[in-house]
Symmetry: C2
Subunit: 130 residues, 2 copies
């Protein structure tokens, strides 16, 4: 590639990663399942140093991730200016069937999503381009 339009890649420290994750929003969850790696968008909520998501107890996401290593990614990317940042949270997924739905997070698709899952991070890293 040429250097024209190329952007610096810088690391974000953990504090800055949590700041960018904020209270929650939309990210992507990746795990290794029966069909190999899978990655899907999820609504997430940050509580302390946990990333929480919510799903139906019978989903493949639920079947395949309990007590497993997973990766969560969130980013903001500007395709016009070729700049953006991303945060990667790796850790083990734990399930809480008893967490009240009112606590969130609140997935957009309709249907009951009684299972709240939480990632206890083993590493939190981030990068910024631009």
């Amino acid at each position: 590639m040429t250097t024209e339009g190329a952007r610096h890649l810088t690391e974000l420290d953990e504090h800055e990663c949590w700041r960018r994750l904020g209270d929650g929003g939309v990210g992507r969850l990746a795990w290794s399942g029966a069909q190999g790696p899978t990655v899907v968008p999820v609504n997430y909520r940050v509580d302390g140093r946990e990333v929480q998501i919510r799903t139906a107890a019978y989903s493949s996401l639920a079947r395949e991730t309990e007590d497993s290593l997973v990766a969560f990614e969130a980013d903001r990317i500007d395709e016009a200016t070729h700049t953006g940042w991303s945060v990667l949270v790796r850790g083990r997924m734990t399930f809480d069937y008893a967490a009240p739905a009112s606590e969130g997070p609140h997935p957009w698709p309709e249907g009951a999503r009684r299972l709240r899952m939480a990632i206890t991070p083993t590493s939190v890293t981030g990068r910024q381009v631009g």
Copy 2:
């Protein structure tokens, strides 16, 4: 969750998935590496029925994905209206060290990225909310 503001979840057929992926843009690549699942944003290009990305030959992405199963995800999500779509491409990653950089895709960060990788899909699925 309440049904207030809830949205229908519908499947996209394969033709529609490729249409949404378009010629390329920004997606996320997930794989299983030494530290468990990982997911990072990537610039991608669609060529025929391949999803191509480009990276440095010495990156962890390159070290950990050759001839391995990977997952590629692209989406468009509107956090204001709680609608959006996502496409998931699963398949095996192959490397092409000889592909001219001019053919793209063109990563935004500066630095040589001589390795072009391509996912030959084994499944292409998509979902839409809203």
